[in-house]
Amino acid sequence: MGKVLMKGNEVIAEAAVHAGCKYFFGYPITPQSELVAYMARRLPEVGGVFLQAESEIAAINMVYGAAGTGARVMTSSSSPGFSLKQEGISYLVGSELPAVICNIVRGGPGLGNIQPAQSDYFQVTKGGGHGDYFLPVLAPSSLQEIVDLTQDAFNIADRYRTPVILMGDGMLGQMMEPVEFLDPKSEELPEKNWATTGTRGDGGPKIITSLELDADGLEQRNKHLQEKIVEMKKNEVRYEMYKTDDADYIIVAFGTVARIAMNAINKARQDGVKVGMIRPISLWPFPEKPFVETRDRVKSYISVEMSAGQMIEDVRLAVNGHAPVDFFGRNGGVVPSQEEIYHKIMAVAGGIEV
């Protein structure tokens, strides 16, 4: 097929279509509205259905209904709209329905602004809605990676019967890069015999619900959800390590920030500082292995985020006291420059507080 130059938001949409997603319910919100509009044009071409919902709440509930029929379905939003979806996401988890939900993060809290941010990290990685659960969260840092991770997202969703979050930021959504859409690799996935499609020819009524009035019964359900969490923690970790083999200092960054940090790292290396990066690609399950491997030989970690410091808590948990963990961040929609990150590295290496 060859490479095409596309905008990030549209890549997400096209990747979803390539993964077999035929149903999209969404609402416009900057900076992801192009994704919604692309789906409006594209889904009728593949015999799918696009519907602009009246709100993000309605959209997530339409996803719930469609997911219940066994279809591959997606919605997307940005931070304030993503907050609105939390009840619906909790229902998807409790009813064990697969779906992909994209959050293109913007400055917050409240109405905030439309510039890039990573300050929804807590919301996506710590469940987000009510109840005991975690969601797989995938954070691409390039448009080609979006293509692969979107495919993964739908497969993870179907494999474990769970919603999956695809998390980007406004910069990723707006940037343009060449991408290639290869045929998705086929995968053995469980049959959806729980789907509500009518009872003709298939036995008794199927019920999709997250209600369980008996406390012991609900505890059993939760045990089952927790078992899935254990499996996902084992099987769905993704990360990248960059120049960490001999590193004295390790930056921890994801998404757009990781790309900027890479330039800062290269410059610092030129100036004699042995610095590398751990780039979590799955924010949940958070990759512990790269930290276990490095925490006894590095002088410190630096978590770099477009937030006031959210991923840093997971870094600290993974480092478990074996090494100091420092922080550099910009928030409110400000994107850190590679100079700022470079200066932070040099200051930490030189023992100076910045």
């Binding site: 149903y23 319910f25 259905v49 519907l51 919902a53 009246e54 709100s55 709440i57 309605a58 959209a59 509930n61 339409m62 996803v63 719930y64 209904g65 469609a66 997911a67 219940g68 029929t69 279809a71 379905v73 009840e87 619906g88 229902y91 009813s95 509500t196 499609t197 009518g198 009872t199 003709r200 020819g201 009524p205 199927k206 019920i207 999709i208 619900t209 997250s210 209600l211």
Partner: protein, 248 residues
Amino acid sequence: MTMKTVFQKTKGLTDKPTHYCPGCTHGVIHRLVGEVLEEMDILEDTIGVASVGCSVLSYEYFNCDMTQAAHGRAPAVATGVKRVLPDRFVFTYQGDGDLASIGISEIIHAAARGEKITVIFVNNAIYGMTGGQMAPTTLIGQKTATTPFGRDASVQGSPIRVCEMLSTLDSTAYIERVSTHDVQHIQKAKKAIRKAFEAQKLGLGFSMIEVLSTCPTNWGLDPNESLDWVKDNMVPVYPLGVYKNKME
């Protein structure tokens, strides 16, 4: 002497005894929906969407595939189902809190989009499940847990007439308000529910039947008194009749 069966339980309902209060007309309305689905022979092609309220467990009573929706969101969930499976029959079953309070946006927009679903709207002018609070359809002067002195229009506004409101939307196909206060009206209610599903079968657009219903427990009346209360107090405020009909 040969005996012919004149009335028996429909296959549209499961065998599970309901949890509804004695005399609550939810049970009657469930039966009507079940009978219509059975008589139209569409039970196996139907997916129902249960809502939140006293009828939250309705997925245990309707003998078809059922999905349980978050409070107020049933029309959106039904939209998701019907858009993926346009040849199946999809209905929601909602009370006055679910449909007219938290779910007012979802019902208006599902109706505006002309979603080819059938909504069964059970209006008993009160919140039953949570202990008798005011509903958007509570009558002026009616005492509830949150209007202990009687609903006062100057403080809590006036009741919402959903049928009238939705009938202004062009993509609605069949809207009728019926009642359950005596056998004659119950029979009319069944005919209306049948028409609504026929409208869905013909692909005409959104259909809704608002059913005036009782809540003996929270009204503080016995079941028979409750039927009279519907006739004497609710029907004057919520006139029965057809509000939209694209069937002819």
